[in-house]
């Protein structure tokens, strides 16, 4: 058998340093499994930002509320794709739903995902838009009229009472939604954190670190989208909204940074058996992706910028520019975080005696191009969702201004 897979493994074998178990040469969880926690992190983060508006009555962020919800939905719809594509037998993936092994963290995926999509996100979006959908459809022509009627599930009631009910339900769902968002991403962290065989992953902090990095990336993404889309609509960016979102981002980055530092210090201080190989891993394999991209560019630099914004009174234009740079750096940093966890965790041998190599293909199911498609697809979906459910327009016949509760 001399197919490309084994040829590639022969190539990688030459890059092995030290001793690895012979079955370890293949990096089993490649770039697609980097994309998966990245996408779910964005979902959880965007949703938590939206929830702040409803639960804690943060009026300033109201202009980005619906956008955050739609962002969460667009990314959630794509999130299972990388998992599915990476399976050896995707045609058997239904087994996870039909025959789940309840002791497996991964088997819970189906339930967590279905709960989050069906019970939390879709319901919240529906109740948020219900009255607008009815009012829009009254003024529209085919086909949008029909589409909005269908999405509203042919609901007709636009009375004050029904609107009050919608608002109550939304608040209720949000209250369930926050722990659900925590569950969604904390659970992804648990998939890695519960692997006792792998000292790079096995950490009780892993779900919490995942969660806070999720919040960071989600807020940063909504800020980025808000800053890009608003000028495209020839509207003025609401600086109060932007400043408020940025301040949440700032706090989330601080918590995230503290947790990751704690993890690092804890490992280094305890210096268990694995510390030597993990240090080699960081120095030899992850120096750029961890040291430079994740920590320096993705964390310290944006943190510095945000501290400067808070201390010095920059004018609006400069603030916008700095926020924009920060959120892009943060996205880069969080993607690198996912890379360092997933790929980094498979670059050292469980014999703790050697390091492996990973090479991403350009084409193929687990290649670079597929990754690009999976990262672009949520934005395409978001564009469609924005077209169907405009997040900034409330219906013209809106007798009651949409209020924050």
């Amino acid at each position: 058998m001399n197919d490309p897979v084994t040829e590639k493994l022969f190539e990688l074998l030459k890059q092995v340093t030290g001793y690895i178990y012979p079955n370890e040469i293949e990096v089993h969880w490649g770039i697609l499994i980097v994309v998966y926690p990245y996408l779910t992190g964005l979902v959880a983060g965007a949703f938590i930002l939206a929830s702040l508006v409803k639960v804690f009555s943060i009026k300033e962020v109201q202009p980005a509320y619906r956008l955050a919800l739609l962002t969460a939905l667009a990314f959630l719809l794509v999130a299972p794709l990388p998992l599915l594509l990476h399976l050896g037998h995707p045609e058997r993936s239904y087994e996870i739903f039909l025959n789940p092994n309840f002791s497996s963290a991964m088997a819970m995926f189906g339930f967590v995902y279905a709960w989050y999509l069906m019970v939390v996100l879709l319901l919240e979006i529906w109740f948020t838009y219900r009255r607008d959908l009815i009012l829009w459809s009254k003024e529209e022509k085919f086909p949008m009229k029909l589409i909005h009627r269908v999405i509203s599930l042919f609901s007709n009631d636009v009375s004050e009472k029904s609107y009050e009910f919608d608002r109550k339900v939304v608040k209720g769902i949000t209250i369930i939604g926050i722990p659900s968002a925590f569950l969604l991403h904390g659970y992804v962290g648990f998939i890695f954190g519960s692997i006792k065989a792998n000292p790079w992953w096995s950490s009780v902090l892993m779900p919490i670190v995942f969660l806070f990095s999720a919040i960071v990336s989600g807020i940063a993404l909504v800020i980025l989208l808000y800053m890009v889309i608003t000028p495209l609509r020839r509207e003025k960016i609401d600086m109060k909204c932007l400043d408020k979102m940025a301040s949440y981002l700032f706090y989330a980055v601080i918590v995230d940074f503290s947790l990751e530092s704690l993890d690092f210090i804890h490992r280094f201080y305890e210096s268990e058996e694995s510390i030597r190989i993990l240090s080699e891993l960081v120095v030899n394999k992850l120096f750029i992706s961890l040291g430079i991209i994740q920590v320096l560019l993705g964390m310290l630099l944006p943190l510095g910028i945000m501290v400067a914004i808070r201390l010095l009174r920059f004018d609006e234009e400069l603030r916008k520019l700095l926020y924009f740079v920060s959120v892009i750096l943060i996205q880069l940093g969080i993607f690198a975080t996912r890379w360092n966890v997933v790929i980094g965790g498979q670059m050292f041998s469980k014999s703790f005696r050697g390091l492996m190599a990973y090479r991403m293909d350009l084409t193929g199911m687990e290649g670079f191009l597929m990754t690009l498609v999976l990262l672009i697809l949520p934005f395409v979906l978001l564009a469609i969702l924005i077209k169907l459910l405009p997040p900034w327009e409330t219906a013209k016949k809106n007798v009651i201004e949409e209020k924050t509760p």
């Binding site: 050896g88 991964m106 792998n198």
Partner: protein
């Protein structure tokens, strides 16, 4: 009408019952007369007896259709050379890998030995715990198997195995590992690696049996297992295992 419905149901019950029964009979026909609940298998490995010939590796690959390439092993043998300056060098002795290894100068060597490795058939198997669809399971006789018709190829088990004992079969795209040659042991034969070992470094048997080579091995030796701190409770135990072995 009611009677007709009842008869119809009776008929379909009998037909479907006989079909299911037939399947069950076929499934059990492979191991006729074998009662898994009467066995509980384990293996003993005597480090001091292993000469690193690699015949066990070859036999395993032949017996179980393990791909020939040096990235897929159900069992392998490691060679440890510990030098006087405490430097440890480990090597997989698979003869097909063309890696230039500097021969150790004898006077520098403190001790040297071979360690056969395979799936430890853990009592608390992490691979079984993490498999999302239950494709990896523990049999009544204590062997961890993979149902290749159910495995979805997610590779979580490969990540969870602390011993690197699993690989993804490149053609089947499902997880694969040592089964103690389950098709042989249920017919009263020895696993292929045990059968071919010229020095009897591998001892196979029933851990509950009081009179067997394995029982004798367990009685006569100080035993150790790999990575005991992970609480996987391996059923493969070693005598003469060096502390450097992971």
């Amino acid at each position: 009408m009611e009677r007709r419905g009842f008869l119809k149901k009776c008929f379909s019950f009998i037909v479907s019952g006989s079909v299911v029964g037939g399947f069950l009979r076929r499934a059990s026909a492979r191991t006729e007369g074998y009662d898994p609940s009467k066995h509980y298998y384990g293996m003993g490995i005597q480090i001091e007896k292993c000469i690193g010939c690699g015949r066990c590796v070859e036999a395993c690959k032949e017996e179980n259709d393990v791909p020939k390439e040096p990235f897929f092993f159900r069992t392998w043998v490691e060679r440890y050379v510990i030098k006087k300056d405490s430097e440890v060098s480990v090597q997989n002795i698979d003869t097909r890998i063309e890696r230039t290894v500097e021969p150790a100068i004898e006077k520098d060597v403190l001790r040297s030995f071979f360690v056969p490795k395979l799936c430890n058939q853990c009592e608390n198997p992490p691979c079984v715990q993490v498999c999302p669809v239950g494709a990896t399971f523990k049999t009544k006789d204590g062997v961890i198997l993979v149902d290749e018709n159910r495995c979805i190829g997610c590779r979580y088990c490969i990540q969870a195995c602390p011993y690197g004992a699993r690989y993804l079969h490149p053609e089947k795209e499902t997880a694969d590992k040592c089964t103690f040659c389950y098709h042989r042991i249920t017919r009263g034969l020895l696993p292929a690696c045990v059968e071919v070992c010229p020095t009897q470094a591998r001892v196979f048997g029933d851990v509950r049996s009081s009179a067997s080579p394995l029982a004798r091995f367990r009685r006569m030796n100080k035993l150790h297992v790999l990575k005991p701190f992970l609480n996987t409770e391996p059923k493969v135990s070693y005598s003469g295992l060096d502390g450097e072995v992971r």
